[in-house]
C-alpha cells in the first residue's frame, strides 16, 4: 500500500511538473453547484490574483462580450450531449490581442457531475490561423474576380500528378471528373498552337524556366478561346524540380475587343487617308481656281484700265470745254463714275497683288502730321456737308520723321476714315461725330509705333460682323451694300496691308452705338534727320475761358513754338513781327474787344466752328479759323501762309463756269448791251450795271444807249438828241461829275436846252448829293436802283421832258 501510495505521489508530482513546465492551466467546474476551481497557472493566464475568490459569474464577466455566449453553449452541450468542449475565447481586458483555448470533458463523480479541463494561451496559433484564412480568402476572391484559374503539378517519382481548380475547369468547359487529367487539356489545344505549348511545358518541367504562353483552345462545342497561362517551377530540398504552380486566364473577350479595335482603327485609317486625299485634291483645285481667278482679275483689270483711262482723259478734256449746264452735268457724272470704276479696279489689283505675295512695301521718309492732315482734309468737306462733327486730337509730342510706306499707310487711314464718314451718315443718328486720335509709342531709338484711332458714333457692328470684316467682298450685312454702297474690298486690303507692315487694326464696336478702329504700325525712324529746328516766337492771346478744342490748339502750338501768353488787351503792340494767335470761344467778349483788336493786324483767330462766321465778319482784318477739325500740319500751314506778304493768284481762281445758265432752260433773255438809238443815255463803266439798268428800263417799256465813261457820254450827248442822261459818278478817264460840267458848259455855249442828268451812285452821303446838285445834276439815284425809284425818276424827268 505504501509502495502504491508512493508511486501515486510520484505520478501526481510528474503530472504537476509536466503541467507547470508546459504552462497549461487546469480547472474544474461542478455542473450542479457551479463551483469553480482554477489552478495557479489558470489564474495567471486570466490575469487573476493567486488568492482571488472565484465564482462562475465572476469568470464569465472577464470574458470578451463577443465570446461570452460560447461558455454556456459548450458547457451545456458537453454536460448534456457529450459534445467535446473545445473553443477559443478572448478576455475583455486583452480585447482582440490575446486568445485562449479552453478544453474539457464531463466526469460523473459521487459528489456530482464535474467538468475538468485545461486553459492555454493560444494567441500565436490563433492569429496565424486568422492571417492564413484571411490571405487565402483574399487570394480566392481576387482569383475569382479576375476569372483566373489555378493549376499545379507535383512530381511523384518520375510521374507528374496534375490538378487544377474549378475556375480553370470552367474556362475549358471540362467536367469535374476531368480535373487532373492533363490529356483532357492537351486534347483541346489548337492544332497550330499544340506543339509550341507542349514543348514549352515540358521544357519548364525539365529546366525550371518559367512557363509563359498565349494559346488557343478549341472547346468541345467548337468555340475557340484565347488563353494566357503562366507557371513557375519549384524545387525540393535536394534541388530537384518537383512542382509547378500556375494560373490561366481566359483572354477571349480582350482578344475580341482588340481585334474589333484593330479593325476599327484600320477602317478609320482608311477613311482618314481617303478624306486627306479628297481634301488635297480639293485644295489643289481651289488653288488652281484661285490662281486662274487672280490671273483673270489682274488681266481684266489691266485691260479695263487702259480704255477707262482714255475715257477719263476724254471726259476731262470735255469738261474743260465750253459746255452748257446739262451736258456739263452729264460729263461730270460720267467722269465721276469712271473715276469710281478706276478706284475699284485699283482695289482689285491691290488685292490680287497682296494675295499673290507680289506687293512690295516702299520705304520713304514721311511725317505723320502731313499724312493725318491729308486724310482729314480729304473728308472734312464731305463730313461737314453731312453734318458730321470731325474732331482731330493729334499728339503734341515730338514730331518724328518716319521711314516706311507712306502711301499704303495713308491708304489704310483714308479707307477707315472714309468708312467712318459713310457709316456715321445715317438718318437716325442724332449725334454724328468722328474723333481721330494719334500718338506715338517709342519702341526703341530706331523704331516708333504710330497709333491712330478713328472713333465714330455710326451704325456700329456685332462681334460676328467684326469677325468677317476683313474678308474680301464681304460687308457687315447684305443690307449694308444696298444702303451704303461699296465693294467690301477696302478693309480686306487694309487688313492685308497692315499685316505686311507688321501692325494691326483693332476694332471695338457696339451695334447702334458706333465703332473705334485703332491702327497701330511700327516705323523706322530717320535718325539723321532729327536736327532740332529753333522754335519761332508766337504771342498767344486768350479771350475768355478756353474750350477743350482751344486747349488742344494751345498744346500743339506750345510744342512747336516759343509761346508768349498775353491776356492784357490794353497794351497791344503790333509793331513787332511776331505772329499773334487769338484763342477764343467767347464771341461776346470778342465783340467787346473788337475795337482793340483793330490794332492787332497780324493775327490768326481760332474759335469754335459755330462762331467762325460771326468773328470773321466782326473782325474782317483777322484770319479766323475753326478750332476743329484742325491738324498740326494745317496749323503750321496757316501760320506760314500768314507770314507771307504776297497772295498767290492761283489761290484766287474761281474756276469760273463759262456756260450761260439760260441756255440750259431754253429761255434765253438777251441782256447784251446794244445801241438802241434811244432818247435815254446811260453812262456807266460797269457792264453788269449797264445790263441791269437797261433791263430795268426795258421792264418800264424804255430803252437806252450806253456810254462806258464820261468822255464817251459827252460825245454821245453831243452827237445825239437825248431826253435824259443817267450817269454813274465814279468812272475811269472822265467821271460823271466832269462829264456833267462839260455838258452844262457846252449847253450854255450853244444855247441848247439843259438835259436832265440823273446821278446813279453807290455813295449815299448827303455831301455826295449836294455835290451832284452843285455841278448841275438834276436828281439822284442810289445803287442798286429799285424799279420803283427808276420809275419815279422817269415819270419826273423823262415823261415831262420836251
Amino acid at each position: 500500500m505504501l509502495e502504491l501510495h508512493k508511486t501515486n505521489n510520484d505520478h501526481i508530482r510528474f503530472l504537476n511538473d509536466a503541467i507547470n513546465s508546459s504552462n497549461i492551466g487546469i480547472w474544474r467546474y461542478n455542473v450542479e453547484t457551479k463551483a469553480v476551481y482554477l489552478s495557479g497557472i489558470s489564474k495567471t493566464i486570466l490575469g487573476l490574483a493567486p488568492l482571488a475568490q472565484l465564482t462562475w459569474r465572476k469568470i464569465l464577466s472577464l470574458v470578451h462580450p463577443d465570446d461570452r455566449a460560447l461558455f454556456p453553449l459548450f458547457f451545456e452541450n458537453n454536460a448534456q450531449f457529450g459534445v467535446p468542449l473545445q473553443f477559443e475565447f478572448r478576455l475583455k481586458q486583452t480585447g482582440q490581442q490575446s486568445w485562449f483555448a479552453l478544453k474539457g470533458s464531463c466526469v460523473n463523480k459521487s459528489d456530482g457531475q464535474w467538468i475538468n479541463g485545461t486553459l492555454q494561451d493560444c494567441t500565436v496559433e490563433k492569429t496565424t490561423v486568422i492571417a492564413l484564412n484571411d490571405a487565402d480568402e483574399s487570394k480566392q476572391l481576387a482569383i475569382e474576380a479576375g476569372k483566373i484559374g489555378t493549376w499545379r503539378a507535383t512530381k511523384s517519382g518520375h510521374q507528374w500528378l496534375w490538378k487544377w481548380d474549378m475556375l480553370a475547369n470552367t474556362i475549358f468547359k471540362l467536367s469535374p471528373d476531368d480535373i487532373g487529367d492533363l490529356n483532357k487539356w492537351v486534347e483541346l489545344l489548337h492544332p497550330e498552337d499544340k506543339p509550341r505549348v507542349q514543348e514549352a511545358l515540358e521544357n519548364s518541367l525539365r529546366t525550371g524556366v518559367e512557363f509563359k504562353q498565349h494559346y488557343r483552345s478549341i472547346l468541345k462545342n467548337g468555340e475557340i478561346i484565347y488563353v494566357f497561362a503562366q507557371g513557375r517551377v519549384g524545387k525540393n530540398y535536394k534541388g530537384e524540380y518537383c512542382r509547378i504552380d500556375g494560373v490561366c486566364v481566359d483572354q477571349t473577350e480582350i482578344h475580341n475587343t482588340q481585334q474589333a479595335l484593330k479593325k476599327l482603327n484600320s477602317e478609320l485609317e482608311t477613311r482618314v487617308n481617303d478624306r486627306t486625299a479628297q481634301l488635297y485634291n480639293t485644295l489643289q483645285k481651289a488653288e488652281r481656281a484661285n490662281k486662274i481667278k487672280s490671273e483673270f482679275l489682274s488681266m481684266i483689270s489691266h485691260e479695263l484700265r487702259t480704255p477707262l483711262n482714255g475715257i477719263i482723259g476724254a471726259l476731262d478734256l470735255l469738261s474743260h470745254s465750253t459746255l452748257s449746264g446739262e451736258p456739263k452735268e452729264l460729263v461730270n457724272t460720267a467722269s465721276s463714275s469712271a473715276n469710281h470704276l478706276i478706284t475699284i479696279l485699283n482695289d482689285l489689283l491691290d488685292l490680287n497683288k497682296i494675295e499673290a505675295g507680289k506687293l512690295e512695301l516702299e520705304t520713304v521718309q514721311f511725317d505723320l502730321p502731313t499724312v493725318i492732315s491729308e486724310v482729314v482734309c480729304t473728308f472734312s468737306a464731305s463730313a461737314k456737308e453731312k453734318g458730321i462733327e470731325l474732331i482731330v486730337f493729334e499728339s503734341p509730342e515730338e514730331n518724328l520723321i518716319l521711314k516706311g510706306d507712306e502711301n499704303r499707310f495713308r491708304q489704310i487711314l483714308l479707307n477707315i476714315l472714309g468708312n467712318a464718314v459713310k457709316f456715321t451718315n445715317c438718318d437716325q443718328n442724332e449725334s454724328k461725330r468722328i474723333t481721330i486720335n494719334t500718338h506715338y509709342n517709342r519702341l526703341n531709338i530706331y523704331q516708333s509705333e504710330v497709333v491712330v484711332s478713328v472713333e465714330d458714333t455710326g451704325v456700329g457692328m456685332t462681334n460676328d460682323t467684326i469677325q468677317k470684316l476683313f474678308t474680301p467682298f464681304t460687308q457687315a450685312e447684305k443690307s449694308t451694300t444696298r444702303k451704303f454702297g461699296g465693294t467690301g474690298l477696302g478693309l480686306s486690303i487694309c487688313g492685308k496691308l497692315i499685316d505686311l507692315m507688321g501692325g494691326a487694326i483693332h476694332i471695338d464696336s457696339q451695334l447702334n452705338h458706333g465703332s473705334t478702329f485703332t491702327v497701330t504700325a511700327p516705323f523706322w525712324l530717320a535718325l539723321s534727320e532729327q536736327a532740332d529746328k529753333p522754335k519761332a516766337m508766337l504771342n498767344c492771346y486768350q479771350i475768355g475761358k478756353l474750350s477743350i478744342y482751344n486747349q488742344h490748339i494751345l498744346k500743339l502750338v506750345q510744342a512747336n513754338f516759343n509761346i508768349n501768353i498775353c491776356v492784357d488787351f490794353d497794351f497791344i503792340d503790333d509793331s513787332s513781327t511776331t505772329n499773334n494767335l487769338i484763342l477764343t470761344s467767347d464771341d461776346e467778349q470778342f465783340l467787346r474787344l473788337a475795337p482793340k483788336l483793330e490794332l492787332l493786324n497780324n493775327a490768326l483767330v481760332y474759335t469754335e466752328p459755330s462762331l467762325v462766321e460771326t468773328l470773321a465778319l466782326t473782325a474782317p482784318h483777322l484770319a479766323v479759323y475753326a478750332n476743329q477739325p484742325i491738324t498740326l500740319h494745317q496749323l503750321d500751314k496757316h501760320i506760314t501762309a500768314h507770314q507771307q506778304e504776297m497772295l498767290s493768284i492761283d489761290d484766287f481762281s474761281l474756276d469760273f463756269d463759262n456756260s450761260d445758265p439760260n441756255t440750259d432752260h431754253g429761255t434765253s433773255t438777251n441782256i447784251a448791251v446794244e445801241p438802241d438809238n434811244s432818247d435815254i443815255l446811260l453812262v456807266e463803266d460797269n457792264p453788269f450795271n449797264q445790263k441791269l439798268i437797261k433791263s430795268q428800263l426795258k421792264k418800264l417799256g424804255l430803252c437806252c444807249d450806253i456810254a462806258n465813261n464820261g468822255a464817251e457820254g459827252f460825245r454821245c450827248w453831243y452827237s445825239h438828241s437825248y431826253k435824259l442822261i443817267l450817269t454813274d459818278c465814279h468812272m475811269p478817264e472822265v467821271d460823271g461829275y466832269e462829264m456833267t460840267k462839260q455838258i452844262r458848259t457846252e449847253e450854255a455855249k450853244t444855247e441848247r436846252p439843259p438835259i436832265p442828268i440823273i446821278a446813279v451812285t453807290g455813295a449815299v452821303m448827303q455831301g455826295e448829293k449836294d455835290l451832284c446838285t452843285s455841278i448841275g445834276m438834276n436828281d439822284f439815284l442810289c445803287k442798286p436802283i429799285k424799279l420803283n425809284d427808276i420809275k419815279s425818276i422817269m415819270e419826273r424827268w423823262y415823261e415831262h421832258s420836251n
Binding site: 493768284i649 465814279h730 442798286p784
Partner: protein, 117 residues
C-alpha cells in the same frame, strides 16, 4: 453795327428780285454775270494788292461792290467796302485777310448757285 454785320447774307435773293422782278431766268443770268465779273475783278484785286497799288485796289473794290449789292451778295459787298476803307489806310495785312475772306464768299455763292441748279 455788329448785329447788322451778323445778319449779312451770302446771297440775299430778294435783292435782285426787287430790282428786276420775279423772273428766275433773268435772275440766274445776273448771278452768272456777277460771278463772271467777280472772277476777273478778284484777280485784278490780288494783282493790285501784290504791287501795293492801293488806289487801284480801292477802285476795283468799288467797281465790284455795286454789282455785289445788286445781286444781294451782302457779305461780298461788305468785304469790298472794307477793302476800300483799308486801302485808304494802306493797311496791307488787313486787306490780305479781307481778300481771302472775299474769295471764300465767292466760292460760297458759287456753291449755293450750283446747289440751286
Amino acid at each position: 453795327m455788329n448785329t447788322q454785320i451778323n445778319e449779312l447774307q451770302t446771297l440775299n435773293r430778294r435783292t435782285i428780285e426787287e430790282l428786276v422782278g420775279d423772273e428766275p431766268a433773268k435772275i440766274a443770268k445776273f448771278h452768272f454775270e456777277f460771278l463772271k465779273q467777280a472772277s476777273v475783278v478778284l484777280k485784278s484785286i490780288v494783282k493790285s494788292f501784290n504791287i501795293s497799288d492801293f488806289n487801284e485796289l480801292k477802285s476795283q473794290a468799288h467797281y465790284l461792290k455795286t454789282s455785289a449789292k445788286a445781286v444781294g451778295a451782302e457779305r461780298c459787298a461788305y468785304f469790298l467796302e472794307t477793302i476800300e476803307n483799308y486801302s485808304l489806310d494802306e493797311n496791307k495785312p488787313a486787306i490780305k485777310q479781307v481778300i481771302i475772306k472775299l474769295n471764300g464768299e465767292f466760292v460760297a455763292i458759287k456753291k449755293e448757285l450750283r446747289h440751286d441748279k
